[in-house]
């Protein structure tokens, strides 16, 4: 006790000796005009782009326009507390957020203030904007990031370090895919960040509840700027979320970030830019709206082993209007990302959930990261489904269908049924392999279409109780050798026998 007190005393004395007592000198400016969250300032001649500036009454802003004789800035935590003539001080720091594992399980706003009512003690800070990893710092994507969704993991596999866009109309299950992916990272060592941009507070509360109930908040951070927050905060939210996730990557961990969603982000940036009198371009978005998203998404990636081997996977979400994926923001983000998952309202309302349109969805790099076992059972999946969809349209007109066509249609229907999955119920990789193995080898031929999901659920339960070792082995090796293939056959046959006994 005494030695501890002495130690503390010694430390304080040492620090006091090192403390330089000199006046603090910094720049100040004067507010010329303020309105709609945008401020024009005279002075601050040496401020940096994106610097945090302090007004009176503890209001903070961020500089965005550096001009001769003054700067343009946006307010971060208030929209009406600043008056013309007021003094503004530069802080010499760019906007920073607290980072590190202390944030796990927490909900913070884009400047790192906790909004879940608990104090936050984070020891490290990181600038909100930072350059993306360089070419030589990067490694190829070679490790899968399992979403737990059969339709995605089999046909549109995502790798760690990849950027995969989730795109679709409103109410088609975009966020659900992202939330399911976060839930599925439990026990897989992937730390998650959910950046909510311009969402309703009620929606956010619901997402928090869902993640907590699934035990996913333990490894998740929510960075949120809700619909009620000013445009500047909504603009900052994805960058702040990225800074938090990026720190995990540089610490050698695997991280996942969801941007929900970037269309609202672009809208917030448009509002800010127009108020700053920047010239409007297509759809009134400013000229640098492409760079807005490209610099954000470039920060995802997989680092070389020498740099810790961490990865940051990004799942941006973009909302389309009436299925128009050729609008400005969707085409921009499609061209930046390494593929997209396209969700269709028609499929959604027809009960195909997740409503993934297999034809328009691609993953440009993920297949290299797919586990061998999955690759073996899923290799002809896309073709089978494409054939089925083509014939399905064709078969609507004619009643006379030959046996081969009938076979493809029957098989396709069972496959579509198998790909349906309830929300928040992720499947393990081995379970996905088992289901695909069963349907691709025609084991479901004599099961009526409406019973396919019940059959699959039963099969998973049966395999989980009687063939747990086989599933674990597939999970561990990631491959499917002859003995394991025989094991899967045996499992499916065994289950079919129990059903025929009913």
């Amino acid at each position: 006790m005494d030695t501890a007190a002495k130690q503390i005393g010694a430390t304080l004395r040492r620090r006091l000796e090192a403390y330089e007592n000199k006046p603090i000198v910094y720049e100040y400016g004067t507010v010329l005009s303020a309105g709609d969250g945008v401020v024009r300032i005279a002075g601050l001649a040496h401020s940096r782009y994106g610097e945090l500036i302090a007004f009176e009454n503890d209001v903070f802003g961020m500089t965005l326009d550096l001009e001769l004789g003054g700067v343009g800035a946006v307010l971060l935590n208030s929209v009406d507390d600043v008056r013309a003539g007021e003094r503004v001080c530069g802080t010499g720091r760019v906007v920073e957020v607290p980072v590190g594992e202390e944030l796990l399980g927490r909900v913070v706003d884009p400047i790192g203030t906790p909004i879940d009512g608990k104090p936050l003690a984070a020891s490290r800070m990181r600038p909100v904007e930072s350059p993306a990893p360089r070419i030589i710092d990067r490694h190829g994507v070679n490790e899968p990031l399992m979403t737990g969704l059969l339709a995605v993991d089999s046909i549109i596999p995502i790798g760690r370090g990849q950027r995969e866009l989730i795109i679709g109309d409103r109410q088609t299950g975009k966020s659900t895919i992202a939330i399911d992916t976060i839930i599925n990272q439990r026990g897989k060592g992937v730390l998650c960040v959910y950046a909510a941009i311009g969402q309703k507070v009620s929606t956010l509360a619901q997402i928090y509840e869902t993640l907590s109930a699934a035990g996913a908040m333990e490894y998740t951070v929510i960075v949120a700027a809700t619909a009620g927050d000013c445009a500047a905060l909504q603009y900052l939210a994805p960058y702040a979320g990225c800074a938090v996730a990026e720190q995990f990557m540089y610490d050698g961990r695997d991280a996942l970030i969801v941007y929900d969603d970037l269309s609202k982000h672009a809208v917030a940036y448009r509002a800010m830019s127009l108020l700053l009198h920047r010239p409007p371009g297509r759809e009134a978005y400013p000229g640098d709206v492409f760079y807005l998203h490209s610099r954000l998404l470039e920060r995802a990636g997989h680092l070389r082993a020498e740099l810790g081997g961490g990865s940051l996977t990004a799942l941006p979400i973009v909302e389309t209007m009436a299925g128009d994926i050729s609008a400005y923001i969707p085409t921009n983000v499609i061209s930046i990302t390494d593929g997209q998952i396209y969700l269709e309202p028609e499929l959604f309302h027809a009960g195909v959930r997740p409503a993934v349109n297999v034809g328009l969805s691609v993953s440009r790099v993920g297949s290299a990261a797919q586990k061998k076992a999955m690759r073996k059972v899923a290799k002809s999946l896309r073709l089978t489904l494409a054939q089925f969809r083509e014939l399905q349209v064709f078969a609507q007109f004619g009643s006379d269908i030959d046996a081969v066509t009938r076979g493809i249609l029957d098989n396709g229907e069972r496959l579509s049924e198998t790909l349906k999955q309830n929300q928040h119920e992720p499947l393990r990789m081995s379970e996905q392999v088992l289901l695909l193995f069963a349907v691709m080898n025609g084991s479901l031929k004599d099961v009526p279409c409406e019973n396919v999901r019940a059959f699959n659920a039963g099969l998973l339960h049966y395999a989980g109780t009687r063939f747990a070792k086989l599933l674990d082995a597939i999970e561990e090796t990631g491959d499917l050798d002859d003995a394991q293939t025989a094991g899967l056959r045996e499992c499916i046959e065994g289950y079919r026998l129990t059903r025929s006994g009913d």
Partner: protein
Amino acid sequence: MELKGELYIAGPFGEAQISSVGAHFARLLGREVVFEVRRDESLIGGFLAMVDGKVYDASVASRMRDARRHLIAKN
């Protein structure tokens, strides 16, 4: 051409002290500075000057804030 500035002080300050601050700034900036003097008790002691787009904060309050940050800083 002389510079205009604002000088904030915490307590009673003699003319001599104010002119010595003025002389110091004249040396620092190479130009005469005419201060408008104002009282600000929140400074506790010392002064805060605003001249030529810069704040020179030599108040006791800001030094205490600074020392506090210095003492509790990690590492």
